[in-house]
Amino acid sequence: MGFDYDVIVAGCGPCGAMAAKAAAKAGCKVAAFDKRKELGAPVRCGEGIGLHWLDELDVKISAKAVSAEINGSVLVSPDWKHKVTIRNKETKGFVVDRKVFDKDLAIDAGRAGADIFVHSEVFDVIKENGRVTGVKAYVDGKPQEFRAPVVIAADGGESTVARLAGINTTATLYDTDFGVEYEMVNVDCEDLIEVYFSVADAPRGYVWVFPKGKDVANVGVGIGGLHTPNAKYYLDRWIKAHPERFAKAKTVAIKGGIIPVGAPMTDAAVGEGIIVAGTAAHQVDPIHGGGICLAMEAGKIAGEVAAKNAKNGTCDRKHLLEYAEIYKKVREPKLLKRLKLRKVLEKLSDDDLNAVFAHLDDKDIDNLLKSNFPAVVGKMTRLLIDRPGLVKAISALA
């Protein structure tokens, strides 16, 4: 069988670009396709990334890609009476400009030798004898076929490519949040990510203010998929309810997207000749919905495993499952713990949340985020005696 490439990557966002770079660095002939003319646009997220990830992923971020440096987070209770500010290594980071950041990653992949096809939509996969052997993509406006022994589906929340290949990645409404955000000017900001919890304002989600500069911020809301009417309704209402801060705010961009917050796919993300990675495989943090760096990590693993097996001629599912095995070691347990926390949080009322917030300090939040639950639950014994209703919800964490 004649192959045009060793590895084909569908989608060239943070995941696809990292996959393409990793495979090219391993000596493979790589092609990455993206339907967009301009990578990174339209932006579909809050654009926040943690500093610690850049070292872990061995990625350098250009000054141009940074909109604002972040030195911590502030979490706010539904009644706004309790604010917990955390400033530590884990909460340091950047709000990036995805239009620059994503392109920088693609530039890295291109420098490593990968072919990048922009404005080139993968509209179908090629399947032969039950295995994926390439993609059909529009390049220069014409439908063309490209063959490779392994395809990495990294096409984000829509996850069309995996599903064309027969892997069910359809997002369920229960395990998915949907978000909208406005990039606004005339919004005073500190160097903190602001997170507002409230069932009334953002059911099964939260409201966020991510600074993009001294007076520019991404102001957004994500809500659980089973809640109505829609994220835009909640965002407009929240902004209107806080004229003291937003009366002079002007919207200069609208962004939105799908946020899978269920369990990450591992074995199920691998098929004959195909690996699904990143948001396409629901590899997103179930608590805060962040997915950029998780996608980069998964892309890197997928690229390395694909490259190795393409060279060995072993792109069957059995060998590609090494990707799932690595993922299960390095990331899945942490995400499953956070999924557990999400499922507790989503049961709490605003009353419960106010009561819990009154008992938490920055160290507790840090422990929660690190999934060190017993330390926090122990501290809340007094609260739990007062509120027996909470016991059942929180005991799931013990």
Partner: protein, 62 residues
């Protein structure tokens, strides 16, 4: 089938991700909806963060 308010849509792809029938596809910067594939499940109506999608009962073309 569904109707998408083109003036409200921000091409965020939420409707694509939840559609079990792959009836919604993002083409560059326009969601294409295939009424032949649509199974009237309403998932994308709930998913759309902009409230840009409405459900029409029955599979007849507009």
């Amino acid at each position: 089938m569904i109707e998408i308010n083109r003036q409200l849509c921000i091409y965020c792809n939420s409707c694509t991700g939840v559609c079990p029938a792959l009836a919604n596809r993002l083409r560059e910067i326009k969601i294409e909806h295939d009424p032949e594939k649509c199974i009237d499940c309403g998932a994308c109506v709930k998913a759309c963060p902009m409230g840009a999608i409405t459900l029409h009962k029955g599979k007849k073309k507009l």
